[in-house]
Amino acid sequence: MDDTMDDVTATPQPSRAGGLPYWSPYLAGFGLGLTLLLAFWVLGTGLGASGGIARVGAWAEARLCPAHVAASEYFGEWLTPGSQHVLRYYLVFMGLGVFVGGLISAAAARRIDPGVERGPRISAAGRLGLALFGGVLAGFASRLARGCTSGQALTGTAMLFTGSVVFLVCLFIGAYAAALFVRREWR
C-alpha cells in the first residue's frame, strides 16, 4: 500500500494565510486514509469528532442543571451514578488530539493566522452569526445521524455501511442546496 502514492508530489497551492503551501490533497488524503486504517486496527472504531463535542455538551448542561440532565433520556445515560466521568471518553481525547495535531502542523507551516475567515461581501459579525447557527445545526444533526463527517461520512463509508453512505450523499445535497443562499458569506 505504501508504494501507491508516496511519490505524488505536492501540487503547489497558495496558502491563504501566507505560510507554506498546502500539501497535495491526494497526499493529505492518503495520510488521512492511513490514520483511519490505524484507528480501525488499534481502536476498532475509526475516527470521530462530534461524539466528543456532545460529551462536552452533556458535561456543560449537567453543570447548569444536574437533576434535569440526569433525568434526560439521551445525555442521562452517560451520567448514571457509578459510571465514569462523562468526559472520560475516547472521542473527547481524540478531539484534543486533533487540536494538537492541527496546532503542530499549522505552526510548522506558519499558517496560524488569527481572525475571522470570510468572503469579501460579509461582515465579521455576520460571519460569526452564521458560524454559530451552522454549528448548532451540525451539532444537532450529528447527534441525530449518530456521527458527523468523521464518524459517519469518512469512517462508515470506508466500511461501506449503507446508512453512512446515505448520510454522506444527503450531506452534499443539503450543503449544495444551502450554498446557493449563503454565497455572500464565502465568495
Binding site: 500500500m1 502514492m5 505524488v8 501540487t11 491563504r16 498546502y22 497535495s24 493529505a28 488524503g29 492518503f30 488521512l32 486514509g33 492511513l34 490514520t35 483511519l36 472504531t45 475509526g46 456532545a54 462536552v56 455538551g57 448542561e61 434526560s72 439521551y74 472520560r88 472521542l91 481525547f93 488530539g97 486533533v98 487540536f99 495535531g101 492541527g102 499549522a106 475567515e117 460571519r127 458560524a131 454559530l132 447557527f133 454549528g135 445545526l137 451539532g139 450529528s142 441525530l144 445521524a145 463527517t149 468523521s150 461520512a153 469518512l154 469512517t155 466500511m159 461501506l160 455501511f161 449503507t162 446508512g163 446515505v166 448520510f167 450531506l171 445535497i173 443539503g174 450543503a175 464565502w186
Partner: protein
C-alpha cells in the same frame, strides 16, 4: 492478535484514551496539511472553486477501504472486532441534510473546526460553541425525535447488500468513481476556480498513482468480503482467551474468566437495588427458564438470540447474559457485541454460580467466617432469598426489601415483539422458516404488491402471488377477495396442493394476512404468515434469490363452506342491534372521525370502536407487539374474547391484519371480517353513519 480496544472494551481505559489522543494528533495533522484549517477552502467545493474536500475525502476513503480489505485478508484484523454502524434510514437522511446545511453555513465540520481553532480562527471557536449547543438542543428534544432516531433501523447493513452487488465489485467501482471524480474536480477547479493546470510531471505522477490504485482495487476484488460472516463464532472468542487471566477463586473453585463478566454477588445487589436500565437476558432453554429464573429476566434461548435480540433486548442500559455455566453465555456475548450492543456482561458461572453463591445458606458455604461476619452474611442471605425465591422465609430477620416489579427491575423495551406462536396459530418466525426452507411440501409465497420487488430478490424458492390478483369487484363493491373457486385456480397454477404448508410473506404484514384470508376461504389446512416479513429476513442477512421457480400446476380443491368468517353489509347491520357485537374500525383516526374521507360518506358505523391497525405493530417493524400488551390494549376498548367481534377498514385489506391478530394470535373465538368494509357501507345512504370521536 489480541483484538481491538473496542472489542476488549478498553476504549475508555487509560491506554485507550492515550491512543485515541495520539491517533487524533495524526488526524489533525493531515487535516491541517490538507488545508482544512481554512473554512473558505472547505466550502470551496460547494461553489466548484476548490475541490480539495472531495479529493481528500475520496482518497482517504479508498485508501482505508482497500487497506481494510487487505488487513482482513492477511488476518491482521478481525472484522467482528470493529464497531458496526447500523443503518437508520430516517435519522441518517434527515441528519445528513441538516448537517450539510450546517456545514456550508458554519464553514466547518466538527473535526475541521478543531483544526481551525488551532489555526486561531475565531469563527471555528464560535462554530464549536454552536455545535455544543446543538448537542444540548438534541438532548432536550430527544423524546420527540425518538421515533425518527430509532426508526427505519436495519442493523449491520452494507452498501453492496443494498445495491445487490458483490462486495469486491463495489470496492472496484468505488475506486473507479473516485478517479473519475478526481479528474472532473480538477476540470471544475480550472473552470470555476480559475486554477492553473498542474505541470506535466505532477499530472504524470497523479495518473500513475491512479493506475496503481485501480490495480490494487482489482486485486482486492478477489479477496473475501470484509463483512465475512461465514466464519463460525468460536466457542471461546479470541478476546475472551486474551482476558483469561483472572486467578481461580478459592470459593468457587475454578472460575472461567470472561471478558466483561459480572459476579453473582454484584448482580444480586443490582437487582435488589432495583437498578433501572438493567436487563437480564436468560439464554437457557424455555423449560429451564420456566422452572426458575431471576426476577424480570427475559428468556431468549441461544438459538433465537441472533434473530430476536434486536426486538427483545433494548440497546440502552446494561445487559447481563445468564446461562447455566459460561460457555453459551460467552457465545451470546460475542453475538450481541457483534450486533452492536456495547454494555453486555456475562454472569460468572451462570445460574449455577448464582444459586451457589447467593442463594445457598451461609452455614452450608465453604467460606470460613467469624461470628460477626456470619451474622452479616445470614442477614444478607435472608434478604436475597426473599427477593429471588418465591416463598422465601418472610418474618425472619429485618424486613425484606419490597420485591421490585418487572417494570422497576428491568428496563422493558418500549414495544416488545410477539413471541411467534408457531404454525398451528399461523404465525412463524424467520428462524423457524430458515430451518425448513428446503423441506418438501413447504410452499413459500411472496405476496408483495410490486412484482419487481419479487424479481429483484426474494426468499429462496419463493413463488409469487400478487395480492391484488385475488381481489375484484363483487356485487358492485370494488376490491373484494374473489370466491373460493377462483382462489383455487390461482393456487393450482402456483403448484400448491391442499396438503402443502404455505408460508406467506411480504414487506407489510397486511398483504400476507390478506392472502391468508383467501387461504382460509378455501379451507386450507397448514398456512402461516412470516412474522417480520422479508424485512426481518434481510436484516438477519438470510439468503435471497432471483431465480424464478417453475412449479408444475396442481389441482386445488376448495373445501365447501369453509368461509364462516366473512360478513357482509347485512350481517353487520343485523349485528348493530344485538347489543353484544363490537365493531372494530381499524382505519386511521382521522378517517374514523370523518375529518378525512376517500369514500361516499365520511365517518364510521355507529357504535364502532377505533384502533388503527398499525398500532398493533412494533414501530418501524413488521412485527406484532407482545400478545399481553395487545390483549390489554383491546380490552381497554371493550374488545374482549367473550364478545362477538367484527373487524373492518376501508376495503378489507388492513382489517385482515387485525382479524388475523384477534382470531389466530390472541385466540378470540368469534371474529368476523367485513371485507366490503366502509366502501360498501358508505355507499348505502340508508345505513347509519356518525362522525367525531366517541
Amino acid at each position: 492478535m489480541s483484538g481491538t480496544l473496542y472489542s476488549l472494551d478498553l476504549l475508555n481505559s487509560g491506554i485507550g484514551l492515550v491512543l485515541a489522543g495520539l491517533i487524533g494528533v495524526l488526524f489533525g495533522f493531515f487535516l491541517e496539511q490538507a488545508g482544512f484549517g481554512s473554512s473558505r477552502r472547505l466550502t470551496g467545493i460547494f461553489y466548484f472553486q476548490d475541490m480539495a474536500v472531495l479529493k481528500v475525502m475520496f482518497t482517504a476513503v479508498v485508501v482505508a477501504l482497500l487497506g481494510l480489505r487487505f488487513l482482513i485478508f492477511f488476518g491482521w484484523l478481525d472484522p467482528r472486532q470493529v464497531l458496526v454502524l447500523d443503518t437508520y434510514w430516517g435519522a441518517q437522511i434527515v441528519g445528513g441534510l441538516i448537517f450539510g446545511v450546517g456545514f456550508v453555513m458554519g464553514g466547518w465540520c466538527p473535526g475541521t473546526a478543531f483544526v481551525g481553532l488551532a489555526s486561531a480562527k475565531l469563527d471555528a471557536l464560535v462554530f464549536l460553541v454552536g455545535a455544543v449547543l446543538g448537542s444540548i438542543a438534541f438532548n432536550e428534544v430527544f423524546p420527540l425525535l425518538k421515533p425518527l432516531y430509532e426508526g427505519w433501523h436495519v442493523p449491520d447493513l452494507y452498501l453492496y447488500e443494498t445495491l445487490h452487488l458483490d462486495a469486491g465489485l463495489l470496492t472496484l467501482l468505488f475506486c473507479v468513481v473516485a478517479v473519475v471524480a478526481f479528474i472532473v474536480s480538477s476540470w471544475l477547479e480550472r473552470w470555476f476556480g480559475r486554477q492553473e493546470r498542474p505541470d506535466r510531471q505532477t499530472r504524470e505522477r497523479n495518473a500513475a498513482a491512479a493506475l496503481l490504485l485501480l490495480a490494487l482495487a482489482l486485486l482486492a476484488m478477489r479477496l473475501p468480503e470484509p463483512s465475512a460472516e461465514a466464519a463460525p463464532v468460536p466457542a471461546e472468542p479470541a478476546v475472551v482467551a486474551a482476558l483469561r487471566s483472572v486467578p481461580p477463586s478459592g470459593l468457587l473453585g475454578e472460575v472461567a474468566a470472561e471478558a466483561d463478566h459480572i459476579e453473582p454477588q454484584e448482580l444480586a445487589d443490582l437487582l435488589m437495588a432495583g437498578r433501572p436500565g438493567l436487563q437480564v437476558v436468560d439464554i437457557r432453554p424455555a423449560d429451564a427458564y420456566d422452572a426458575f429464573h431471576l426476577p424480570g429476566a427475559v428468556n431468549l434461548p441461544l438459538e433465537a438470540l441472533a434473530a430476536e435480540s434486536a426486538q427483545r433486548v433494548s440497546r440502552s442500559g446494561q445487559v447481563v447474559l445468564v446461562s447455566n455455566g459460561t460457555t453459551h453465555a460467552a457465545q451470546a456475548w460475542m453475538e450481541l457485541r457483534r450486533q452492536g450492543w456495547t454494555n453486555v456482561r456475562v454472569l460468572t458461572d451462570g445460574m449455577l454460580g448464582f444459586w451457589r453463591e447467593c442463594l445457598t445458606p451461609p452455614s452450608l458455604s465453604e467460606v470460613p467466617a467469624g461470628p460477626q461476619a456470619a451474622q452479616a452474611l445470614s442477614e444478607a442471605f435472608r434478604k436475597r432469598r426473599a427477593l429471588f425465591l418465591a416463598g422465601g422465609s418472610p418474618g425472619s430477620g429485618p424486613a425484606a426489601p419490597p420485591r421490585p416489579t418487572a417494570e422497576e427491575a428491568v428496563a422493558v423495551p418500549p414495544a416488545p415483539a410477539l413471541a411467534e406462536p408457531g404454525l398451528e396459530k399461523h404465525v412463524v418466525s424467520t428462524a423457524w422458516l430458515a430451518e425448513r426452507l428446503t423441506q418438501p411440501g413447504l410452499k413459500l409465497v411472496d405476496v408483495r404488491p410490486k412484482s419487481t420487488d419479487y424479481t429483484t430478490g426474494h426468499l429462496p424458492g419463493a413463488l409469487y402471488l400478487n395480492p391484488e390478483s385475488l381481489r375484484t369487484t363483487i356485487e358492485g363493491v370494488p376490491a373484494m377477495v374473489v370466491p373460493a373457486v377462483e382462489i383455487a385456480v390461482q393456487l393450482g397454477r402456483l403448484g400448491i396442493g391442499n396438503g402443502d404448508t404455505v408460508i406467506l410473506y411480504s414487506d407489510n404484514l397486511r398483504d400476507a394476512t390478506l392472502v391468508a384470508m383467501a387461504l382460509a376461504r378455501v379451507g386450507h389446512g397448514a398456512y402461516a404468515v412470516l412474522h417480520g416479513g422479508i424485512r426481518a429476513w434481510v436484516a438477519e442477512k438470510q439468503p435471497l434469490s432471483k431465480d424464478l421457480p417453475r412449479p408444475a400446476a396442481a389441482v386445488y380443491t376448495p373445501v365447501d363452506g369453509a368461509d364462516t368468517f366473512t360478513v357482509g353489509v347485512d350481517g353487520v347491520k343485523a349485528a348493530l342491534g344485538d347489543g353484544k357485537t363490537v365493531i372494530v374500525d381499524v382505519r386511521p383516526a382521522d378517517y374514523f372521525a370523518g375529518k378525512k374521507s376517500d369514500e361516499a360518506r365520511p365517518g364510521h358505523i355507529p357504535g364502532a370502536v377505533n384502533r388503527e391497525f398499525t398500532l398493533d405493530l412494533v414501530p418501524g417493524q413488521d412485527l406484532w407487539q407482545a400478545a399481553d400488551r395487545l390483549q390489554e390494549a383491546y380490552a381497554k376498548l371493550g374488545v374482549t374474547p367473550d364478545k362477538p367481534v367484527i373487524v373492518h377498514c376501508r376495503t378489507g385489506h388492513q382489517a385482515s391484519q387485525t382479524y388475523f391478530l384477534l382470531k389466530h394470535v390472541l385466540g378470540f373465538p368469534d371474529v368476523r371480517w367485513f371485507d366490503a368494509s366502509w366502501s360498501a357501507w358508505a355507499a348505502r345512504p340508508d345505513l347509519p353513519a356518525e362522525t367525531g370521536t366517541p
